[in-house]
């Protein structure tokens, strides 16, 4: 058997990939149909009419849409950045301490559901005068993003990273040198992945925005659930499509990267 043939995925793997791809495409396909169609009556397979009129109506409410988009983008970038940075510092500290108790403590925020935590935090946030503001939402989302990042960064370092860190200390380096020459170069891939996941968490969060934001922080998720409550099927599907755009972009980038790597491998 040639080496290129041995690199081909097995039939089971191909079926799983095909099923996953079909699941993704069908979800987006259904949302697309819902966003374009109107007058969908039982038992028709497709809506009676499909055109861009619902999208034009959606775009006419441009100010609300742009505000929600900017709010969600701002929240996710800030929460992603702060959560990743704080999680990186905490995670590395936990790894260096190597204490079972501290390792247990960083999992604590996962014990409580985000909405319950938000209700518990609400009194504190009122006293801090940040309840119902973007700052309050960022604060509460950061607790969970930081916890996730701390767990992530406490586990995913290799023995090589520890040895490189020891080497920098041994050569007379400072903490800054350790970060500059070990943590950031060695962990760049991990940092990007963590940042994207923390951004996605904030982008898709509904519970904390609705409880802590108290309706004053109008993110895309809040708009989408608002449309669902109003039974505006087109607008809910349109908002959902916009919400899922980053995930779609991520899937496409991953797929393109995967096929490019396979093409490179087969050429080499």
């Amino acid at each position: 058997m040639s080496s290129s043939a041995s690199k081909q995925p097995s039939l089971a793997i191909r079926l799983i990939i095909a099923a996953a791809a079909a699941g993704i495409v069908m979800s987006y396909g259904l949302l697309l149909i819902l966003s374009l169609g109107s007058g969908w009556t039982f038992p028709n397979l497709l809506p009676d009419r499909m055109n861009f009129v619902p999208w034009r109506a959606f775009a006419s409410d441009r100010d609300v849409l742009i505000k929600a988009l900017l709010t969600s983008t701002g929240l996710s970038l800030i929460v992603g950045g702060l959560g990743t940075f704080m999680g990186l510092v905490i995670g590395r500290t936990v790894r260096r301490w190597n204490s079972e108790t501290v390792r247990f403590l960083i999992y604590l925020p996962f014990v409580v559901a985000p909405v319950i935590a938000a209700i518990c935090l609400y009194d504190l946030l009122i006293r801090l005068r940040v309840a119902g503001t973007p700052a309050g939402v960022i604060f509460s989302q950061c607790i969970f993003a930081t916890s996730f990042a701390a767990v992530y960064f406490s586990e995913l370092w290799t023995r090589k990273t520890d040895r490189l860190e020891d080497l920098v200390w041994s050569l007379g380096g400072s903490t800054f040198a350790v970060w500059r020459h070990v943590v950031i170069p060695e962990g760049s891939g991990l940092i990007v992945v963590c940042f994207l996941q923390a951004c996605l968490y904030s982008w898709l969060d509904y519970g904390l925005v609705s409880v802590i934001g108290g309706g004053n922080v109008q993110s895309l998720t809040l708009r989408m659930f608002g449309y669902i409550r109003e039974a505006s099927v087109n607008q809910a599907a349109q908002a959902a499509l916009i919400l899922l755009l980053p995930a779609l972009a991520g899937s496409i980038v991953t797929a393109v990267y995967y096929f490019l790597r396979r093409a490179e491998d087969s050429q080499s």
Binding site: K160, D166, L167, S170, L171, G172, H181, P185
Partner: protein, 265 residues
């Protein structure tokens, strides 16, 4: 200033001593090093020989400040360094595997410690060029970690450590992952550069031939204890090192090969 502080900073080529006294290292209830004491003359290489798991690596890491010691004292150039942070000890620890910074070129890796010490760029450039010639890697100066062989990486790691001008260099089986030929070259290079830069070093190995090529002073570790040999002859004569057996084996092979081989068809 205390008398200790008046000692020269760089002991290389001088007669100052490095001294470990009653060093104990425990992990929980497990004793890794027990009452370890030895001196080391400046400009010399002390070879630590011993079987796997006897605490050789822990000894080096304890001296470098990378593992906490339970009791004992480490003195370098008359300065007690036991409680100092790794970066303040003037001691460099070289790992078993050559560790290079993947985002830096060979030349940048060699200059790494000098840049940390904020030396002038002119001095760095001339030192790096001199070192690249010494380790025969001038043509590879702009290459990255993944473009080098194991022996080349080890030379870069060694060069970087030498240019950091450590008061004491600790080498933990540095050539163990290299093939026989490259290992021989690296042993000669180490002996040559140690002499050229008058390095004071502790060299851990379990290869007696390597020990004899690079070493001036010899100790053997066994079961968390350390035995210091008074001189090279005592080291050669000790049954525990396996050297007498090795010599007897090769002598018998030489004798056998001189006999007529009557059995051969």
């Amino acid at each position: 200033m205390t008398s200790a502080e008046q000692q020269p900073e760089d002991s290389r080529g001088r007669t100052d001593l490095f001294q470990v006294t009653s060093l104990n290292v425990n992990y929980g209830s497990q004793t890794i090093l027990s009452d370890v004491s030895f001196p080391l003359q400046a400009g010399k290489t002390l070879v630590v020989l011993g079987e796997s798991g006897c605490g050789k690596t822990t000894l080096l890491r304890a001296i470098a400040g990378l593992v906490p010691i339970t009791t004992g004292e480490i003195c370098l150039n008359g300065r007690i360094i036991t409680a100092l942070a790794p970066r303040d000890r003037g001691v460099i620890y070289l790992d078993q595997e050559p560790l290079l910074f993947e985002h830096l070129t060979v030349a940048e890796n060699i200059a790494f410690a000098m840049r940390l010490q904020k030396q002038s760029e002119q001095i760095i450039q001339s030192s790096v060029e001199q070192m690249l010639d010494a380790i025969d890697l001038r043509d590879h100066a702009k290459k990255k970690d993944w473009q080098l062989s194991g022996g080349q990486k080890q030379r870069v790691a060694f060069a970087r450590a030498v240019l950091a001008k450590p008061q004491l260099l600790l080498l933990d089986e540095p050539f163990c992952s290299l093939d026989g030929k490259t290992r021989g070259q690296m042993q000669s290079l180490f002996a040559e550069i140690s002499h050229l830069f008058s390095l004071t070093s502790i060299f851990v190995t379990h290869d007696v031939k390597e020990a004899l090529i690079v070493g001036h002073q010899f100790v053997r570790m066994s079961g968390s204890h350390l035995f210091l040999y008074p001189d090279r002859d005592a080291f050669l004569r000790d049954e525990a090192t396996g050297i007498p057996d090795e010599i007897a084996f090769w002598l018998s092979q030489t004798y056998d090969s001189n006999q007529p081989d009557v059995e051969k068809p």
